[in-house]
């Protein structure tokens, strides 16, 4: 059987997405299953990402797998000048699967070509982070009951934010999505994604003001506006406080509306929102463990 990898969200079909949702629900009901007994999973973090690594390692532990790896390339042979190619070849001999994060874009795709074992991309620079997208989808499915007919408001940095791009691609596979983009012109959704939506006859609306239009939302997906994205610091100063979600803005929203955020947040969601029934971002992070158990089992063909 040909090995499977998960490098980009578009490597998965709609059937795969639905299977992951189903498996994640199973793991949520019964998180500890000995499906990876006697298997070794390599978690290769060439750049640190504590949140993602702990989530994956928790998932592997709950599946009774064993873990080898590193959490930062300064403790690996990379500092001696070893190429990614050689690291991956070597690890392929030891482990049954690789979960990797790397600062260079395309590194995960390349690793999947070099490796004889399955590779899961846990983030390659600003490119892809598919397990984040799948856990976002699981959070939507869980809170809205379906992935069809969802009105998603994406807020903040829509230009560089890889999570919003991947979520847009994946949700476009489902029935009748509506997208609303709220961003400063400097950080607007790139044309290639708008062209993609047009080609699929999917409705989208663009806004620069964060107003009560959010009353139509099923999901508000918040992202960070990052200072380093701006070439002109004055432009950043102008927009940095425009896109802050506060409790008082939630008055007219749908009772079922949920707020998602890939975390970490800085100031874009005011702490007074945390106690609101709309706040879902911490539960979303927990959903990540079940979703990653689902992804690993699916890729390894043990479920």
């Amino acid at each position: 059987m040909e090995k499977r990898d998960l490098i980009s969200i578009t490597d998965f079909s709609k059937a795969d997405y639905l299977r992951i949702m189903e498996l994640a629900a199973e793991f949520e009901a019964n998180p500890n299953q000995e499906l990876l007994k006697n298997k070794v999973v390599a978690t290769l973090f060439f750049e640190p990402s504590t949140r993602t690594r702990l989530s994956f390692e928790t998932a592997i532990n709950r599946l009774s797998g064993r873990i080898i790896g590193f959490s930062d390339s300064s403790s690996s042979s990379v500092v001696k000048g070893e190429t990614l190619h050689d690291t991956i070849r070597m690890v392929s001999n030891y482990a049954d699967m690789i979960v990797m994060r790397h600062p260079l874009e395309g590194s995960a795709r390349y690793a999947s070509e070099v490796a004889s074992i399955p590779v899961i991309n846990a983030g390659d620079g600003a490119n892809q982070h598919p397990s984040q997208t799948l856990l976002d989808m699981y959070s939507i499915k869980k809170t809205q009951g379906s992935l069809d007919n969802i009105n998603i408001f994406m807020v903040g940095d829509l230009k560089y934010g890889r999570t919003v791009h991947s979520l847009l691609m994946a949700m476009s596979e489902f029935e009748n999505p509506i997208f609303n983009f709220i961003a400063p012109p400097e950080l607007a959704m790139p044309d290639e994604y708008k062209r993609f939506l047009k080609s699929k006859n999917i409705r989208y609306f663009e806004h620069t003001q964060f107003t009560d239009i959010i009353s139509e939302a099923d999901i508000i997906y918040m992202t960070r506006v990052q200072k380093e994205r701006f070439t002109d610091p004055i432009e950043y100063e102008k927009v940095k406080n425009v896109y802050i979600l506060k409790k008082k803005m939630l008055k007219n929203t749908k009772p079922t509306m949920k707020i998602l955020h890939p975390l970490p947040r800085v100031n874009e969601i005011h702490p007074d929102v945390d106690a609101s029934p709309h706040a879902y971002y911490f539960t979303q992070a927990l959903n990540g463990v079940f979703t990653r158990e689902a992804i690993i089992s699916h890729i390894m063909g043990v479920k």
């Binding site: 980009s8 190429t83 990614l84 190619h85 790397h102 600062p103 260079l104 874009e105 395309g106 590194s107 795709r109 390349y110 390659d124 620079g125 600003a126 490119n127 892809q128 290639e192």
Partner: protein, 151 residues
């Protein structure tokens, strides 16, 4: 064109590559490895062209370009035309066509792409022909026509 130009350009057998954007002339020479050729080659650049403004032209004796060579020409001179010459006559005119995949010819424009850090054959799918847009198999970023750099 005056008579003196015609004298230089006549070839008995070979290929004339016409309608090359003037600024791409030397790229075409490089990519086809013509600097190593022992055949008679003449080229001209900054010639007037209705279509391109200024164009370049290359005439190579005894060479008939095939598959991958034509792909390479298509990439940097998408409007190029190949005139195949036999016995001083043009026996065939070919318009180049951009292939659907480009392997190890072009450099990815993205400095953070893995292909610019390790020895990896670049691979692009051609997402648009005119103007050319190449999507990197690895970093998934688009290299646009004006960013194309030959490896």
């Amino acid at each position: 064109m005056d008579n003196r130009a015609l004298q230089v350009s006549a070839i008995k057998e070979g290929t004339v590559i016409d309608h090359i954007p003037a600024e791409r002339l030397f790229d075409v020479i490089n990519i086809l490895g013509l600097f190593n050729s022992l055949e008679m080659i003449t080229f001209g650049t900054n010639l007037d062209s209705k279509q391109l403004g200024k164009k370049g032209i290359i005439k190579v004796a005894n060479r008939f370009f095939q598959g991958e060579e034509i792909d390479k020409i298509a990439l940097i001179a998408p409007h190029a035309k190949l005139n195949i010459i036999k016995d001083y006559e043009v026996i065939e005119k070919r318009v180049v066509e951009t292939p659907s995949e480009i392997v190890s010819i072009v450099k990815c424009f993205n400095p953070k792409c893995i292909t610019n850090h390790e020895k990896i054959k670049t691979r692009f799918s051609v997402v648009s022909n005119k103007p050319i847009e190449l999507k990197c198999r690895y970093c998934e970023k688009i290299t646009y026509e004006n960013q194309i750099e030959i490896v």
